[in-house]
Symmetry: C2
Subunit: 203 residues, 2 copies
DNA sequence: CCGAGTGATGTCAGCTGATGACATCAGCCT
DNA sequence: AGGCTGATGTCATCAGCTGACATCACTCGG
């Protein structure tokens, strides 16, 4: 790294240690900012790394690929919702359990809609990122299905319930992001579930 | 291309024309065979091209990327199911229309289970390919939702019905591929729909 | 207080996927 | 015959990604 590449944090906030801590967070912030400014494809990994004050090699030590920098918190979401599913009362119906899991997921990202909007704008603008998002949601769905099976629900019903839950979440999230008023994400999920029941009800 | 790279078809079946026709099909076959033999990541594009008797540059003229060679027929599936949706009687309920669309899709791939199994084995073995498959299914779901909206169904219900249909299809396809007996894909879809109705029914 | 060990990072070399620019040439059309 | 077209080959180049190894501030036991 040449001296011309020294960034602001290096000049002003170098308290101790050989490197500034929090490289992962700096990379996440830098990536989101650049993806917003210039688009995902037009942003090179070395540029993200430069803005974060590290090398491209370090980027790939934190994130498996250029997309993952926007998604690595999704694992946490899957864990929390699985835990909520585990904690649901035994008396709850399959869909009630799924609803509880989605509520827990909503708690995690429902608090900062502006951040969610930025992320969503970047992701919807690029096919590779849309693919990765689908993949993460599918992973969450698979985790939920596993949890349901552990509750003794048979395989087909578990898979179907989890996939349906994912569909409900997708619809609710979209509505929440698009909403002009201050809609609560959990309310959107509940309403989405109600629509599903209407849809599949006879008549 | 050196003479050492000349493949069998070039030696024996060169009837006329500068190049053997059907390069796209040859590339599809070569790719599936190699992905099965050695795995997706371990197969290089140049190897697929060699087996098909073309160069890697030609591979990328037929397919946008290394994954797409397994998926470019999915567009046809989306078209056929959209057409079936269009053709459904006006009296049909939302879910009945979706079911008709899925039936049309099933017609396209339900006839060759062995091919479907090979493709499925390759795809499930690799994360990038699973991502792409989700992406294709999402594309089909979006097309179905569009068709439903054109029928006057409101946005949320259309999206929800299409996503639910995709979930039903996913479950049915998995069961069909795993089945030991000669299950019909369309029957599997119908049964999957029945399970959904049971699931969302009160009680 | 010193020397070995640790861990995060840098440096370097290299492979593979992917793309643009241009050349080639069989077959077709006039 | 001669030019046009379209599919393909050739070449150069870049960006994503990875393995191997070096570096060096910090830590900890002696």
């Amino acid at each position: 790294m040449s001296s011309a590449d020294i960034t602001v944090w290096q000049l002003y906030t170098r308290p101790m240690g050989r490197w500034e801590p929090g490289a992962g967070d700096r990379l996440r912030e830098a990536a989101l900012a650049l993806y917003l400014e210039r688009g995902f494809e037009q942003t090179m990994v070395v540029e993200i790394a430069d803005r974060a004050g590290v090398t491209a090699r370090t980027f790939f030590r934190y994130f498996a690929d250029k997309r993952e920098v926007l998604f690595d918190k999704a694992a946490e979401m899957a864990e929390k919702s699985s835990a909520a599913l585990e904690a649901a009362p035994a008396s709850a119906s399959t869909l009630e359990v799924v609803a509880a899991a989605l509520d827990a997921a909503a708690d995690l990202i429902g608090s900062d809609r502006e951040l969610a909007r930025q992320r969503h704008a970047v992701i919807t603008a690029n096919a590779e990122l849309r693919e990765r998002e689908l993949s993460k949601l599918a992973h969450m769905s698979a985790a939920l299905a596993d949890g349901l099976r552990r509750r003794g629900i048979d395989d087909v019903e578990a898979t179907l319930a989890a996939e349906t839950g994912a569909a409900v979440y997708r619809v609710a999230f979209q509505r929440w992001v698009d909403a002009a008023d201050d809609l609560d994400l959990r309310d959107a999920i509940r309403q989405s579930f109600d629509r599903l029941r209407t849809l599949t009800a006879p008549g």
